[in-house]
Amino acid sequence: MSEVALLAQRSVVRTLRQPAMVVPSLVFPLLLLSINTSGLETATHLPGFPTNSYFQFALAIPFIQGALFSANSAGTNVASDIESGFLNRLALTPLRRVSLMLGQLTGILALGLIQALTFVVVGLAFGDGIAAGPAGVVVLVLLSLTISLAFGAIGAFVALRAGNGEAVQGTFPLFFAALFLSSMSLPRDLIETDWFRTVATWNPVSYMLEGIRSLVIEGWDAEALALGFACAGGIALIAVAAAGSALRTRMVRT
C-alpha cells in the first residue's frame, strides 16, 4: 500500500471510530434544518423570496455546518497526534511530509463525502428534489467536498501551528461567526440591515451557500457556481498550502 493510502486509511479509520465526532456532524445540522424550516416558512411570503419552500432554501446550510464539524475533527486529530508524540514517531520513519498531508486531507474528504451524501438523500426525501438533476447532484457533492477540504485544512493548519487542541476549539466561534454573518437565513438582496448585507457580501461563505442553493432551487447558474467553487477552492488552496508550511515547521527533521 502506498504511504498516502496507508495514512489515508488510518485517518478515515480513526475518524469513524469516534462516533462523538461523526454523529453530531450529521444529526445537528439536520435537526437545525428541520427547526429552521418550521420556524421560518413564513419568510417565503416576502416579496422576492426565490422559492416557496424554506426547506429548499435552507438545505444548503447543513453542507456548511458539516464542513465546520470537519474542521473541528481534522484539527483535533492533528493536535492529538502532536500532543501524544505520534507525529514524532512518523517523523522517524522514511515517510514523506507530503504523504502525511495528503493522507490527512483524505480523511477530511471521507467524512465530507459521508456528510454530503447524507444531506443529499435527506434533501431528495423531504424536499422538492434538486433542480439541476442528477448531474447537479454530482456537482453539489463536489462543491461540498471542496468546502469540507477548505475548512478541514484550516483546522489542520491551526493545530499544526499551535500544537494543541484548545486552539482548535478556540477557532470554532470564528467559523460560527463566518456562517452566521452570511446569506444563511435570507437571500442577500432581502437583508434589510445595511452593515449586515455588506458583511454578507464580502463573506465567502455566502457564495458557498449560494452556489449550493443555485443547484437546489434554480438549476444551472454558472455565475453562482463559479463564485461558490472559486471561494471554496481558493480558501482550500491557501489553507492546504498554509497547513503544509506549518507541517514543515512542526515536523522538523534534519
Partner: protein
C-alpha cells in the same frame, strides 16, 4: 472540627468558581460570544421578517430577537455553569468539597451564585450591544424587573437541572445530556417569529413547550404590553421547584459515593 455554615460554604464555593471562570478566557468568551452571534445574525440577517404578513410585534424585530437571546444567554449560562460541576467530579475535586463542607447544600448554593454572576456578566454585555444596534425598550421599570426576574429564574432552573444531571453522571459525559434538552427547550419555541407564524411540527412542539409562555411574557415586558405574566411566572416557578428537588436528588446520589 469544621464550623462551616451553609453561607460560608456557599461563599467559598462561589468564590472559587467565579475566580476560575473570570481568569480563564476559554470559559468567559463563549458565554458572551455565542448569544452575541445569534443576536447580530438574526436581528441583522432576518430583520425583514417584520414585513411578513401577521408579524405584529410593536417594538420591532431587534427587540423581538433580543427577548429570545436574553433567555438563551440566561439558560445556557446555567448550563455551562453546571459543566464545571461535572468537571469537578471527573477531576476528583468534588470529593474535597464533599469532605470539607459541613453543609453540603451550601455547595449547590455556591455553584448557583457563581452561575448568577456569570449570567449577569453575559446579559450585561449582550444588552449593551443590543442597545447600540437599536434595541427599543417600551416597557416600564417594573416591566424590566419582571423581564430580568424571568431570565434569572431560567438561569437558576438550567443550573439546577444541570446540577442534578452532573451529580448523577459525575463525568464530563454529562455535557451532552445537559446541553441537548436545553437546546431543544430553547429552539422548539417561537425563536424567529411569533407563535402564530410557526408551521409544522415546531408549532406543535412550541404549543407544549413551557419556554413559549416565558418567551412571550418576556417579549411582552419589552414591548410595554405585559402578556401571560402570571402563567409564565407560574411555569417558571414550577420548573425551578422541580429542579430543586432534582438537584437535591443528585446531591444525595453523589453523597452515596463520596
Amino acid at each position: 472540627m469544621s464550623r462551616g455554615s451553609f453561607f460560608s460554604v456557599a461563599r467559598a464555593v462561589a468564590w472559587r468558581n467565579i475566580h476560575n471562570w473570570a481568569t480563564n478566557p476559554a470559559l468567559v468568551i463563549p458565554g458572551v460570544l455565542f448569544p452575541m452571534f445569534f443576536f447580530t445574525a438574526f436581528a441583522g440577517g432576518l430583520s425583514r421578517i417584520d414585513n411578513v404578513p401577521g408579524f405584529d410585534y410593536g417594538a420591532g424585530y431587534t427587540t423581538f430577537v433580543y427577548g429570545f437571546v436574553l433567555l438563551q444567554a440566561a439558560t445556557f449560562g446555567g448550563v455551562f455553569s453546571s459543566f464545571s460541576i461535572a468537571r469537578d467530579f471527573e477531576s476528583g475535586f468534588s470529593r474535597r468539597l464533599m469532605l470539607g463542607a459541613a453543609n453540603r447544600g451550601g455547595i449547590v448554593a455556591g455553584y448557583w451564585i457563581a452561575a448568577l454572576v456569570r449570567a449577569l456578566t453575559n446579559i450585561g454585555v449582550i444588552t449593551v450591544v443590543a442597545l447600540l444596534v437599536g434595541l427599543e425598550v417600551h416597557g416600564s421599570g417594573i416591566d424590566i424587573v419582571g423581564l430580568y426576574t424571568l431570565a434569572f429564574l431560567m438561569n437558576a432552573f438550567a443550573l439546577l437541572f444541570g446540577t442534578g444531571v452532573a451529580m448523577r453522571l459525575r463525568t464530563m459525559q454529562a455535557g451532552p445530556a445537559i446541553q441537548t434538552p436545553a437546546f431543544l427547550l430553547l429552539f422548539l419555541a417561537p425563536v424567529w417569529v411569533p407563535y402564530d407564524l410557526l408551521t409544522g411540527w415546531v408549532q406543535a412542539a412550541a404549543s407544549v413547550n413551557p419556554l413559549t409562555l416565558v418567551l412571550e411574557a418576556g417579549r411582552g415586558f419589552l414591548a410595554g404590553d405585559p402578556t401571560k405574566v402570571l402563567p409564565a411566572f407560574a411555569v417558571v416557578a414550577l420548573l425551578v421547584s422541580v429542579s430543586v428537588l432534582w438537584a437535591r436528588g443528585g446531591l444525595r446520589s453523589a453523597e452515596r459515593v463520596a
